[in-house]
Symmetry: C2
Subunit: 255 residues, 2 copies
Amino acid sequence: MVDKMEIFPIKTPIIKPGENLAEIILEAIYSQGLKLQDSDVIAVASKAVSIATNRIANLRKIEPSKRALKLARRYSLEPEFVELILRESEKIYGGVKKAILTIKNGILTVNAGIDHKNTPEGFAALWPLNPQVEADRLRRQIETKTGRKIGILIVDSEVSPLRLGTRGFALAISGFKPIRDYRNERDIYGRKILITLHSIADDLASAAHAVMGESAEQIPAVLIRNAPITLDENAKSKEMKIESGKCVYAGSFKL
Amino acid sequence: MVDKMEIFPIKTPIIKPGENLAEIILEAIYSQGLKLQDSDVIAVASKAVSIATNRIANLRKIEPSKRALKLARRYSLEPEFVELILRESEKIYGGVKKAILTIKNGILTVNAGIDHKNTPEGFAALWPLNPQVEADRLRRQIETKTGRKIGILIVDSEVSPLRLGTRGFALAISGFKPIRDYRNERDIYGRKILITLHSIADDLASAAHAVMGESAEQIPAVLIRNAPITLDENAKSKEMKIESGKCVYAGSFKL
């Protein structure tokens, strides 16, 4: 029989700027009567990482540029918020009411990942400055404190083309292979599989996002046990990106 | 404490055309020592539904059109396979090697959802003729046999823009609300949330896809227990679609 995968929501106090996220998460795990095991994956909301590492911006201190004022009118957003989007994004495509499509860290995302939900009044949360560094740091801190070999997954929300609602995706990973490569395996009829790569990191990010929710749940972390992962200390988040010449969307639209 | 969510992979024999999928899945669930509970969600791979309902096409009986021959050369695909894509899709955008971006059932998907992995030799699997009808039928059959109120989720694979690897998404649902609406809730600071909708169906589809895998796992079904869902007999899959005027991708590209 195949083992079941378990998804434990980890409820914490509200996280404040400068706090030690690894300690808060571990305390919350212990207070739920859980202990870490080797190969557990801890999924953390990117916003929790942003707040703990002071990646929040005071909107009242932002001076909107002319371009920000224009885009703010077009997309019904605050000018200060749009100014942050312009500063944070590598590229801007267009948008709809309340949402601008951007490239940030090479990732296609809405509003450069900036959000003011669940941030202190008057502040907006930006993506962690370097999600890979933060994922690696969290993993080292938790592995040192527990003696376990684990995976870390930084989770953010995204929307998909022509679909309603947000879902989770993996902003960064540490400690496990984000992509499973099936290219030398065979299907149930014994035929060789030619091209399938499976984004286990994105699937697990969605599994975590399902229980994190999007409002006042106070579940910034999720413990995933028995996930079909392979631990790998050298795995990097950039493995989840595709060359644009191989991306079917980039091949069809101007990305 | 919040309950953990459990993801049970359900291993079955190879499913053959015309077989009763509800019976196969229930037998496999029982043979793993499990019993259904109210509010369980059963996720089923779309390919299992396609094969059981005879939505497979004999590639040797397909006559490729001139357009199919041309696109087959351009994207390094079999002409018969491309002919099927042309017949199945509502719109074609473009593509890259081995992949054409299409609209099928109003969903942006690669190769109109057609795939010949894990299908009988010489055959390709098309999407179920009407995924909503199949999801409703499966739910009725399973609810009648067990007396439980459950959710059904038909899961397929997709790729995301600029991301490597496949992940799960919800092709159809039955019995539960696919979207959770947070618009009248408040965030952890008590501020009203204005626009967030959460695609719980897509998140759960990804959670199931994580353990289904993509090769010879023979796990066409997954039992999800304790998912944060609301049962709703009248919920429809079309609730997961967004009007293109509100879609940030459609607003930026020509979708």
